[in-house]
Amino acid sequence: MATATPSEIRVGAHHEPHLGFLRSYVFSVDHKVIAKQYLGLSLFMALLGGAAAYLIRWQLAWPETYVPGWGYVEPQQYNAIITMHGTIMIFFVAMPFVLGAFGNFLIPLMVGADDMAFPRLNMMSFWTLFVGSAVLIASFFVPAGPAAGGWTAYAPLSARPIYTGVTWGQNLWLIAVAIEFASFLMGGINFLTTALNMRVPGMTLWRLPMLVWTELIAAVLFMLSVGPLIAGAFMLLLDRIAGTSFFVPDKGGDPLLWQHLFWFFGHPEVYVVGLPGFGIMMEIIPVFSRKPLYGYKTIVWGMIAAGVLSFVVWAHHMFVSGIDPRLATPFSITTILISVPFAIIVFSLLVTLWGGKIELTSAMLFAVGGLATFIIGGVTGIFLGSAGLDVYLHGTYFVVAHFHYTLMPLAIFGGFAGLYFWFPKMFGRMMNETLGRIHFLATFICFNCVFIPLFLAGVAGNPRRIYEMSSYDFLKPAQPLHVIATIATLGLLAGQIPFIINFFMSLVRGRKAERNPWHANTLEWCTDSPPPHGNFSQPMVVYRDPYEYGNPDAPKDWMAQNEPPAAPAPLGGGQIRRTGTR
């Protein structure tokens, strides 16, 4: 091909161009700035999502009482709040957190590139997401309130304004979510192209740090699964605005089709959010165990297998939706099958911990705590995968507890672990470990105290999506469980205060971070903290696997990826002195 130029590897720090404030901090094309913008957006949206959780839990524990700081939660408001809690937490917190922030910050650094493959597209994808968030927030203020049809927006509830009483709120919800999809499709182009095409010499696919692998697989899953739902969103929007009846049965539409389109995306989406969380754990656990990651290739193949299987499990969300029974059995089988690759990942991480020199920093605590918590989520998933048991459990709080036990450990515990771990690299300062450990303990204990009672309530048959439970006699015995869960929720929310204090205090007053405070191997630790514009001052060359820790024959217990084999003269920025205290 005459036009196909070989992918050039742009290396070397560029002289920082003198751009104005707007171009350096707002409309920046630097992947590091964009990552911080994603981080800021996701943490801001997390405040909204957390506030929604507070209102939901208060209403469930002490129904129709005055909620401090808000007032009374009306039934219609309650529906809107649970809808917005789900939408915000999945699409506008978890995705920007683990994909937007960590993917953007780390993929170029970890493969040794100076930026993403398409920096301007990268900027555009963030601002597209920003517009999406703005549209979603705007939907709180339109007449008749925000969407109230659940975060899954099941038709026909969502397809006609008359059913929920929501008019523009649901339309804006659809538009916001569609914009969010467009944003992450654009981001995915960058993830894929950068990870495949911008690797420095020596960085083969089998030497990629796990985080890059997970972001890559997540980007592929997202791209392949979201298309039919975008089509469905167009159709649902037309149903609402123009009055067509794609999903309304009165003129031949089929509500079940929306559920299929939604979950064909929705299930891979769980792994889109979850795998990068695992990626963060897989970076952190070897560092603080001083051991190589166990079973690198097995994990990669396991994740690819999980990715493939994730496209054939979606109907397990619909066992009680009236799907054809002939579909239920195959989907049960695939769902139970998909626990195998995840078991491989979990056991590999456990074996990595085994016999290691474990150091419980805040990052490690969140990584291990998240892993432990995820196991509960994963195991309860097997219950729900069995169609027969799912029929009993699906409409109950068991499902609520289950998906919080899968998504929270991966996206939120994983995200916090990553933040404590890479904060020095992002902002050039260390975070306070004491506050970090307090944050972990509060989060870990309270999180379990919220959702273990909900598992029990679910097994007892407590249906979810009920505004006011005290009017049902059969639910009265479950009420104490809800009170415990709510008190724990208050603790969970209060437990984030040390983090907020820590975050802003460390930004300003934290101890200056050296290049490699954790003595880690991957390439991002071979440059300054924070990395300069252009990331690396010298061309990087990779000679090793990413997890060479604790080799008894080596002079020190870590070998950076760019450290040449047994060559006395260092090549590139690989010479790292053991300085500072840990």
């Binding site: 005459a2 039919p228 089929d254 079940l256 089709l257």
Partner: protein, 96 residues
């Protein structure tokens, strides 16, 4: 850079493909007017559409000269949505 001769040959190839595409389009129209069974007509018409699409992708979008990764990016989604459609047949198409 190609030689002049090769360049003329490539051009002629592009035009030949176009000629086939137009012929096939007309053939599909012809099939729709033929007095044959509905199933046979559907098979023929969509068979022709697949051939046309394959020709455009192979020769105009240069899929024949692409590497494995591009082939995968192009073909996996096609297989995936066909799989989606097949899986949904019992639920959506046969329920009424």
């Amino acid at each position: 850079m190609e030689t002049l001769l090769e360049s003329a040959a490539t051009r002629a190839h592009y035009i030949a493909i176009w000629r086939w595409l137009v012929v096939l389009a007309i053939a599909a129209l012809g099939v729709s007017l033929l007095p044959i069974s509905k199933i046979a007509a559907l098979v023929l018409i969509f068979g022709i559409a697949v051939v046309k699409a394959a020709m455009v992708m192979r020769d105009y979008m240069h899929l024949k000269a692409e590497t494995l990764i591009i082939h995968a990016i192009a073909l996996i989604p096609i297989l995936l949505f066909i799989g989606l459609a097949l899986t949904l047949i019992p639920d959506i198409a046969l329920r009424h």
